[in-house]
Symmetry: C2
Amino acid sequence: MFNNVTIVGVGLISGSFALALKDKGYAKKIIGVSRTKASTDKAIELGIIDEALPLEEAVRQSDFIYVAIPVDATIPVMKQIMNLVTDKQIIADAGSTKFVLCNSLADHPMRKRFVATHPMWGTEYSGPEAAVRGAFKDRSCVICEKEKSDEDAVSLVEKIYKSLGMHIAYMDPENHDIHAAYVSHISHITSFALANTVLEKEKEEDAIFELAGGGFESTVRLAKSSPAMWAPIFMQNKENVLDVLNEHISQLRKFKSCLEKENYEYLVELMENANKITRIIK
Amino acid sequence: MFNNVTIVGVGLISGSFALALKDKGYAKKIIGVSRTKASTDKAIELGIIDEALPLEEAVRQSDFIYVAIPVDATIPVMKQIMNLVTDKQIIADAGSTKFVLCNSLADHPMRKRFVATHPMWGTEYSGPEAAVRGAFKDRSCVICEKEKSDEDAVSLVEKIYKSLGMHIAYMDPENHDIHAAYVSHISHITSFALANTVLEKEKEEDAIFELAGGGFESTVRLAKSSPAMWAPIFMQNKENVLDVLNEHISQLRKFKSCLEKENYEYLVELMENANKITRIIK
C-alpha cells in the first residue's frame, strides 16, 4: 500500500509497528531514523528496518512517517517533519500524552496531514530488541482530533491499526490524557515506587528476595520500564497524574488506617469494593 | 505413599495441592473438609477430592492433613486437629503468615507432628474452580521452625514440595512474616488500592475503561483476590505490613514531589533506581 515508510525511533513501539506493517504487506521498504547508530544497526540486523537515513532524507522518500520517541522529543521532531511534508504524505505519532502535542501542532499549516494516535499497547522493555511480532492485537488505539486531520490520512491510519487487531476510540486530547493517567501512567508510578520500596529493604537484608513470586512480579514488572520514555510522559501529564496519585495515596491511607485501628470490617469493605475491578478487567 | 490425605479447605491452594498429590501418586484417596457443602460438591465434581467428611472423621482416617484456609481460622482448626492426631500422622499448613500461628501452637504436645509451611504460589482467584494442575512449580516454599517438627514429618513434606518443583527456604516465623510483607502482602494492598483509585474515577465518568490495557491489568489483577483470605493475613501481619506500607507511601510521595516541583532529574533518578529491580525479577 505504501512504497516507503519511515519510523522515527526504532524501539519497542515503532519496531513492533514496522514488523506489523511488513507482515501485513503495507510497506515495501521501511526506513529507520534514530539519533543512535547502534539502534539502527540493531534494527537492520533484526529485520525491523531496511535502511537507516537522517530524518530529512527519510521523510522526503516516504509516503508515511510514524513517530514513536519520548513525548518531549516528539514535539520538535514533529514540527520538523511537518515543515518537510507535502499533501501526499501522512504522519502519525504513537505518544502516550496527547494534549501538549496537539496544542503545539494546532496552527501548523500541515496539521491536516498528521494523525494523533496512541496505540495502547506496550511492555516494560525498550529498544529494537523489544520489538515483537503480533503486538497491538485486541488493544485500544485512541485517535485524537480526528476532525483536524485529512480524511484520507485518518482512514488509512485507522485501516492499519484495525488490521493489527486494534479497536479505535476517539477522544479529545484532554480526555485522553485524563484516562491515560488512570489506566496507564499511575500503574507505572506505583510499580516504580513499589520497586523502590522493596529495594530500600534490600539494603538492610541480603538474599531475602528468592521468595519473590508471581503476585510481586506482576505488580512490579513495569518498574523495569525506560525512564527516558516515562519521565517525559509523567511531566507532560503532570496535572492528571498528580490527581490520580493523590487519590491513590489517599486510598492507601485508608488501608493503613484500617490496620492501625484494627478495623477489620472496613478493611474487608475496601477489598470488596476493589473486587469490582472485574467490571473493567475480566 | 499415603493412603488417605485430608485437605482442610477446598480452594485455590488446597485444591491445587490435592491435584498435585494425586498426579504424583502420593495419595490413594483425598478427603475434603469445608464448612460449605457447595464447595465440597464442586471439588468432588472437579475430581479434586474423592469424598467430603466432617473434620474429626476426616482426620481420623488420614495419614496426612493439609490445612489451607484463611489464617485466622487456621489457628483454632489446627488446635482441633492436633488434639486428634497420633504420632503416626503428619499435619502441614499453607498459610501466608507464620508468626501468630507458630506461637499459638508452640506448646501443644503434638506440635512435632506439624510442619509450618508457606508455598509461595497463588493466583487472584479462589474456590475449588481456581485449583489448577502444575501449580507451585519453580516457586519457593518457606518452612518455619523446622527444628520443632519431627524429622520424618519435615522430610516427607519437603519431599512432596520438591517433587512439585518448589525450592525450600528455611526461616524463622518473624523473618518469614517480614519478607512476606515485602514480596507479597504489599503487592496485594497496592493492587486493591489502585483498583479503588480507578473505581473512584469511574463513578464520575462512564465507559472510559475500554482503554485499560496490559500494564494496568498486571498491576491491578491482584485486586480480584479474596477479602476473606487476605484481610486476616493483613491483620495478622499488621506491624510488618504497616512498615512496608509507610515506606511505600513515602516512595510515592517522592514521585509526587518531583512532579509538583518539576524536578525532572530526581524523577529520572527515582526511576533508574527502580530499574534495579531486575536484580530481583529478571
